[in-house]
């Protein structure tokens, strides 16, 4: 099955991006396709390479980047949501790209299932 993923929360305030990451990873391992992961609201903070969690904490930014490298997952950060929160190209972690909300709508059109993670 072809999934589109929407991440609406940041990596530290909320479990949603962990759940999205684990779902995405599990789906790929089961042979499904992830059409795109779209980051909206505080979800754009998942792309901030300046983030430095403590050593005993998981580093979700790095985990997303590794997933993108390994599986060529398209990680898209909403430009409007990102600019508000100071997320720009020069602080974007590897594997992420900034684009418009149209990428989310396209994901909804193309994917068999569009799944939201967040409140």
């Amino acid at each position: 099955m072809k999934f589109g993923i929407l991440v609406n929360e940041g990596p530290f305030q909320h479990q949603a991006s962990d759940s999205a990451y684990l779902f995405t990873k599990a789906a790929l391992e089961k042979g499904h396709e992830i059409y795109r992961v779209f980051f909206y609201y505080d979800g754009v903070n998942n792309a901030n390479k300046l983030s430095e969690p403590q050593a005993d904490d998981r580093d979700l930014v790095k985990l997303w980047s590794a997933l993108a490298e390994e599986h060529k997952v398209d990680l898209v950060v909403c430009v409007a949501a990102a600019l508000r929160r100071g997320i720009k190209d020069d602080i974007l972690a590897p594997g992420f790209r900034i684009s418009g909300l149209g990428q989310l709508i396209e994901s909804g059109i193309v994917a068999d299932r569009q799944i939201t993670f967040g409140d």
């Binding site: 609201y41 505080d42 409007a80 149209g102 909804g108 409140d119």
Partner: protein
């Protein structure tokens, strides 16, 4: 946008539903949801917008937001018609529980019972909630 539409419009039109469940201020969910609705309209999808729970407050007339230092974005709901977003629904139970009627709202809406809304939701292809 990578896909190109021909003159007849988009190749695929899906039923998109946006479910607004949060009050307009206090968190950013409502404002950014509205931005999302406007984009789907630009993609000529079959857009449905639902207001339920505290989301019904987003449509309340006469919002005065200076005191909370936020922009009053409720006038944008009146512009939705210009984007061909005309399917606006409010859950009856949510409206009544907050002592509101359709007269209190900035735009015309269809009021649906929880059961009718459930059945409308089951017909959607993409549901985005916040």
């Amino acid at each position: 946008m990578e896909e190109e539409w021909d003159e007849d419009g988009p190749e695929v039109v899906k039923r998109f539903m946006y479910v607004n469940r949060k009050a307009p201020y206090g968190t950013v969910y409502a404002l950014e949801m509205l931005e999302k609705v406007l984009i789907a309209a630009a993609f000529e999808q079959d857009v449905h917008v639902v207001f339920m729970d505290d989301g019904v407050y987003q449509l309340k007339k006469e919002q005065e937001t200076k005191g909370v230092n936020m922009k009053n974005f409720s006038p944008t709901f009146r512009a939705l018609e210009g984007y061909d977003v005309e399917k606006l629904y409010v859950e009856k139970e949510s409206l009544e529980a907050r002592g509101l009627t359709v007269e209190d709202l900035v735009v015309p809406v269809e009021v649906l019972s929880s059961d009718d809304l459930k059945s409308l939701m089951s017909k959607q292809e993409v549901i985005l909630t916040a």
